[in-house]
């Protein structure tokens, strides 16, 4: 077996993987070492990336090339740094306000145009497809479309928390809203179950991937 860097990394990966798995036996120094190593490496790596990918590539190089457009972000960044000092922190408010304001505007605009309109269009598209078909497939698609519509409406009704106040009694929702929200609850439960199953399978995939790595490494060493 020739010595090369790949083998070194393989050995390191193998040892670190075993150290992480050792947490199954409880908290121990190996697991703590791996955790500290991960945090330290991540912090160092982030710093290097920020310097090279952001400060140099997006600030220093354009400034050296004579780009005046970079001066405004530089000024705002400088003001934002003043947030570190309690005495000067108010100077950091304008860039912070700009960030929050622009971020909120972008998020709201995107949600309305991208998701809300897009999903409404998608819900209508089911009916569109259904009408373009014929025979049994049309009926099937129509059933599917109605089912989707029912799920959407009833889920929205579940989040309708208004209730009528009756003297001497606890406030209660109208029976029709209660019934619709009960159906919505079923849809929400199914969705959350699907998300949980997804999380479980993602974790199992990670476990299988590590198991495969351990077996492959050991097999390679044995051979």
């Amino acid at each position: 077996m020739t010595f090369n860097t790949e083998i070194v990394w393989l050995v390191i990966s193998f040892i670190l993987t075993l150290a992480v798995f050792s947490f199954l036996l409880g908290d121990n120094p190996f697991f703590r070492f791996v955790s500290a190593l991960l945090i330290g490496i991540t912090a160092g790596y982030f710093t290097v990336v920020i310097i090279y990918q952001v400060l140099l590539a997006r600030l220093a190089v354009p400034l050296l090339q004579g780009s005046r457009g970079t001066l405004l972000p530089l000024l705002l960044s400088g003001l934002l740094l003043m947030k570190l000092s309690p005495r000067l922190s108010r100077w950091g408010n304008p860039p912070m306000a700009l960030l929050i304001g622009v971020g909120a505007a972008v998020a709201i605009g995107g949600a309305v145009l991208g998701t809300l309109f897009g999903q409404v269009k998608g819900a209508l598209a089911f009916f569109d497809v259904a009408f373009s078909q014929s025979g049994s497939s049309r009926a099937l698609i129509m059933v599917e479309a109605v089912f989707f519509l029912l799920g959407t409406f009833t889920t929205l009704f579940y989040f309708h928390f208004s209730a009528r106040k009756v003297k001497g009694k606890e406030p209660r929702r109208h029976w029709s809203i209660g019934a619709l929200s009960s159906i919505g609850k079923v849809f929400i439960s199914v969705t959350l179950g699907a998300v949980f199953a997804g999380v479980l399978t993602a974790t199992i995939t990670a476990l299988v991937e590590r198991a495969d790595f351990l077996v492959t490494t050991i097999t390679a060493w044995v051979r």
């Binding site: 790596y45 972008v106 995107g110 991208g114 997804g198 199992i204 995939t205």
Partner: protein
């Protein structure tokens, strides 16, 4: 150098000042100043006054009259007001017997309405106070029992002193007690009448035409004056707050020392944060959790809410929530540890067993998901020379799953010789993907990584960064990771806008990232087609975007990758490890099912025991 006194506000100023520090009016010139210069600057009226100040002699009357004629109007008005104030204060200091007579307006206010007042109410109050045995005068009794309730603000007592009969106001006055009582009674009438009822003589025409209304107001005022209970001036009526508001108290109000507690800066000894100082430790949070002293009767808690509270309490205080003794508790905790270790070992074995024993065979799906078929079909239609933008954002912890999920797609792109540009919206993404791309190119001898791939690196700014990339990609990511001009490289030389990419392939473990891409790429004039490779945990939330046509196709997790490989008929990691994956998933499902059954039996058993005991 002597100080100067302002002629307007009469305050002392520095001798060098030209204007008064307080009222900003011009100051007279100091005696030290050369007279010739100063006299030219100041007006004659000021100079005369200055002269008077200096010499201390009063100028003759005709001179004063002359100076008054010359003073400006504003100054004359100030002087006039000042003189009036001085006169009033002088009169107040040496006030004679005649000065204490009530002013003209007071009898006028009480005129015409005396008959309508129920005098016996006032007398009754006076008699009650006398009976209480206090050595207060009739005037004091009146204040406490009548005047305050009437005015509501306790102002009437001051009015009595200021404008009332001195004999009634002052108990030490040499008058007989009878005279004092009579005077107090008269005073009471005078005070009550001006406030309630409203003096009808002074009413406006529109209101005087409504006798019923006036009568109603008068009777109501009298009722208020006589029935309102006497209370302390500082005592305010307590507000009736709703129960939920009563429970919302600041912690400092309940436990004053709580706000002064500070979390000690210490180093964690165990857990994932072991060895790191300054972290927020759960043990500190437990110490700071203080149950506020609330009246439990004010807060209505439903059984469901109580169950949630108990659940949260179990999470925060796992040991203290039960009423078990220490040995039983230790046994229970030991049992939990054993169960945890058992589940972990079973899961690990189920993942490893198919690698060790080849007899296990997975059930391979025969139907392929529509989204995977759509993704494959779209990639197959991409022209060979048109680049694909691969956007990455996933955590390192899910890199294994996403590497497997994206493997067949990347291999497909590499085998078709499609140029690729990599951009990452988180710091670690592009480095992980570059490694994967290099591995894919090593398996393909026809294409070279350096010729086909350009790494644009990290795109900061989150959603705002995405917008800038969609609007002008050349400006958003001008350089590659090697700090070379990215858009002059071979893969991107024909790309000017985002729509020049054949597709945007998004690799993420977070459905929110996909949502952001869908929303922001839709802002482009010609939105680029979107494809996605996502973690299995994001699949349910990504599905609606495919159903609505906002993304062309996606591959979710290991099973999605297996389908793609089967469509391509090229095996990969997903197919070789699918047996292990399937067995582990089945084991997890079985464990969850068993856990549910055990919990059900336990609950039923507890219910039966409770019924039997009850």
């Amino acid at each position: 150098m002597a100080d100067l006194r302002c002629l307007i506000c009469n305050r002392v100023n520095d001798a060098s000042a030209e204007r008064c520090w307080y009222c900003r009016s011009p100051l007279p010139v100091s005696s030290d100043t050369p007279a010739s210069d100063a006299q030219e600057k100041i007006p004659p009226s000021f100079s005369d006054a200055n002269e008077e100040l200096r010499t201390g002699e009063k100028p003759p009357d005709d001179a004063i009259e002359q100076s008054e004629e010359e003073v400006p109007e504003w100054l004359a008005r100030i002087r006039e007001l000042k003189a009036q104030e001085e006169q009033v204060s002088r009169q107040g200091s040496d006030r004679g017997p005649g000065a204490d007579q009530p002013p003209e307006w007071l009898p006028n206010l009480s005129r015409g309405e005396l008959d309508s007042i129920e005098k016996d109410q006032v007398q009754k109050a006076l008699i009650e106070d006398q009976e209480s045995g206090e050595n207060a005068s009739a005037e004091t009794s009146f204040r406490d029992s009548v005047a305050r309730p009437v005015t509501g603000e306790g102002v009437a007592a001051k009015d009595i002193e200021a404008f009332g009969d001195p004999g009634a106001a002052d108990t030490t006055h040499p008058k007989s007690a009878a005279q004092g009582e009579q005077a107090a009674e008269d005073e009471a009438k005078k005070i009550v009448e001006p406030v309630f009822p409203i003096p009808v003589d002074d009413l406006p025409d529109w209101l005087s035409e409504e006798p019923d209304l006036i009568e109603k107001i008068t009777s109501k005022a009298q009722k208020l004056a006589t029935t309102a209970p006497p209370h302390d001036e500082d005592e305010l009526e307590k507000g009736a707050l709703p129960a939920w508001l009563k429970t919302l108290r600041p912690l400092e109000a309940v436990v004053p020392a709580a706000s002064e507690q500070e979390i000690p800066s210490s180093t964690d000894q165990e857990g994932v944060l072991a060895g790191i100082s300054g972290t927020l430790r759960s043990i500190d949070l437990e110490g700071r959790q203080i149950n506020p002293a609330l009246n439990p009767h004010d807060l209505v808690v439903t059984p469901a809410q109580q169950a949630n509270v108990d659940l949260l309490n179990d999470l925060i205080h796992p040991a203290s929530s039960t009423s078990l003794t220490q040995p039983v508790l230790n046994k229970k905790m030991g049992g939990k540890k054993f169960l945890k270790a058992f589940i972990a070992i079973v899961m690990l074995l189920s993942a490893l067993l198919p690698f060790l024993n080849q007899s296990f065979q997975a059930v391979i799906p025969e139907l392929f998901p529509k989204e995977v078929v759509d993704a494959y079909g779209f990639i197959q239609e991409i022209p060979a020379g048109k680049p694909v933008l691969i956007a990455v954002q996933y955590e390192a912890g899910l890199a294994g799953e996403l590497a497997w999920a994206s493997e067949p797609v990347i291999e497909n792109l590499v085998s078709r010789g499609i140029p690729m540009a990599v951009v990452s919206t988180n710091v670690s993404g592009y480095a992980i993907l570059e490694e994967q791309l290099r591995r894919a190119f090593t398996n393909d001898s026809n294409n070279q990584f350096e010729e086909k791939v350009i790494n644009l690196g990290y795109l900061p700014g989150g959603t705002i960064g995405l917008i800038s990339l969609v609007r002008d990609p050349r400006e958003a990511v001008p350089f590659s990771t090697a700090l070379e001009p990215a858009w002059e490289s071979a893969p991107l030389e024909n790309v000017a806008e985002i729509s020049d990419f054949a597709a945007v392939l998004l690799l993420t473990d977070n459905p929110e990232i996909l949502r952001a891409w869908v929303e922001q790429s839709g802002r482009a004039e010609i939105p680029p087609p979107l494809l996605a490779v996502v973690s299995a945990q994001a699949a349910p939330l990504v599905q609606p975007y495919h159903d609505s046509g906002q993304i062309r196709g996606f591959i979710a997790g290991s099973s999605g990758a297996l389908s793609y490989q089967m469509i391509r008929q090229v095996p990969g990691k997903a197919s070789s490890t699918f047996t292990s994956y399937q067995l582990a998933v089945l084991t997890a499902a079985l464990l969850i099912f068993l856990g549910g059954v055990v919990t059900l039996i336990n609950t039923a058993g507890t219910g039966i025991k409770q019924k039997g005991g009850g």
